[in-house]
């Protein structure tokens, strides 16, 4: 017997007819973002792929963008939803600037805003299908946080989205330490991105690394990682038994 039959109000997003008005699944997606804190600020890396299911549709998608003076946002998941989030943040920063009071939103505040947006959309069963990484520096304080499409949020010394959680975080847990130099930070990120390139089928070999410090944001020009395929296990993989991996 159905005691709690949910009665749909007219404006509900849960009736069959309103499926056209909410996100059900993603279409064009970006894969992992990886970021870490280093001596002067935050380093973040993401490749430039925009996949349409299993097709590699777009190869020059910038998945990291500066936000205001103090923050850098990286996104994985639905690219159109990322663009929507950038429009929300644009308005947020605009209103912040229009106060003209010398104060500006720091990374902590932007992260909190994004958390509320993502969580509230999830509660309305119409999520923004993204996993976001928000990093920045303000008044010498470094900040690095993440929010997912269902509103799960936290901050840490290193974060990643998607496959990055499984492949990059363990590397970072072993090798990250306080006050990494810029070169060491980049080397560590490249190590993570290389593993992702080998093992994540949605990864592409065209990436950018972004740096944010008290001075500001720099996003590198796109470049590729060197890969090595001459491991002996890959030569004649059927020889041993069932495969090289």
């Amino acid at each position: 017997m159905n005691f709690m039959a949910s009665k749909q109000p007219e404006n509900s997003l849960l009736s069959p007819e309103s499926d056209s008005q909410r996100t059900l699944y993603p279409y064009v997606t970006g894969t992992s973002v990886v970021a870490l804190k280093y001596k002067d600020g935050i380093l973040m890396a993401a490749d430039m792929g925009g996949s349409y299911g299993s097709t590699l549709r777009y190869k020059s998608v910038e998945r990291m963008k500066p936000i205001g003076k103090h923050s850098l946002l990286g996104a994985s998941g639905e690219i159109s939803d990322f663009q929507e989030i950038l429009r929300y943040l644009d308005e947020l920063i605009l209103y912040d600037n229009m106060w003209d009071d010398g104060n500006s939103l720091g990374p902590k505040e932007v992260h909190n805003y994004l958390t509320r947006v993502m969580y509230n959309r999830r509660n309305k069963f119409n999520p923004l299908w993204n996993s976001l990484v928000l990093g920045g520096v303000k008044n010498g304080q470094k900040y690095l946080g993440t929010v997912s499409m269902i509103g799960v949020n936290f901050e840490d010394n290193h974060v990643a989205t998607g496959f990055g959680n499984h492949l990059a975080r363990p590397i970072l847990r072993q090798e990250w330490h306080e006050n990494l130099s810029f070169e060491d930070g980049v080397r560590l990120l490249e190590k993570c991105m290389r593993v992702l390139l080998y093992r994540d089928r949605s990864a592409v070999n065209k990436l950018q690394i972004a740096k944010i410090t008290e001075e500001g944001v720099t996003i590198s020009q796109p470049y590729s990682l060197k890969t090595y395929w001459e491991f002996s296990a890959f030569e004649n993989p059927a020889q041993g038994a069932i495969g090289s991996w």
């Binding site: 709690m4 949910s6 958390t115 969580y119 999830r122 509660n123 997912s148 269902i150 509103g151 799960v152 949020n153 936290f154």
Partner: protein
Amino acid sequence: MASSGFQADVKALQKHLAARHLIYQHQHNKQMSCPAMAQLLSNTLYYKRFFPYYSFNVLGGLDNEGKGCVFTYDAVGSYEKVGYSSQGSGSTLIMPFLDNQLKSPSPLLLPAQDAVTPLAEAEAIDLVKTVFASASERDIYTGDKLEIVVINADGIRREYMDLRKD
């Protein structure tokens, strides 16, 4: 307030209660007692009875007389004052052990006997560490690190302990 369950709901719930506590302090010029917060938490949870906070809570603190109290909740606000409790994925492993060690008086007794745990602080902390170490062995979701919050007349103190990282 210790919460288990969906992290986004836990964070939202704790943020909500922290805001309500701040308002209380502004309006009453004092801290909320644990029984007062207990009722507020119950009401907050039941408010979302038909789209619940996926959060399983245990509330601990001091009442207006300075005595310790523990309240245990389900996701929609049912609550009860108890001498001890556990919630979350490891609770099925932990609760029977607590029942065994703390020998709570029967809830059927009249007059009702207060289930105050007859342990010293050091013994209680040791018990907490033991139960979490045990739960980590068999519950895949329990592990990495434990945070213990100790509340008494002297104030609030935190202790940390590493747990199995697998």
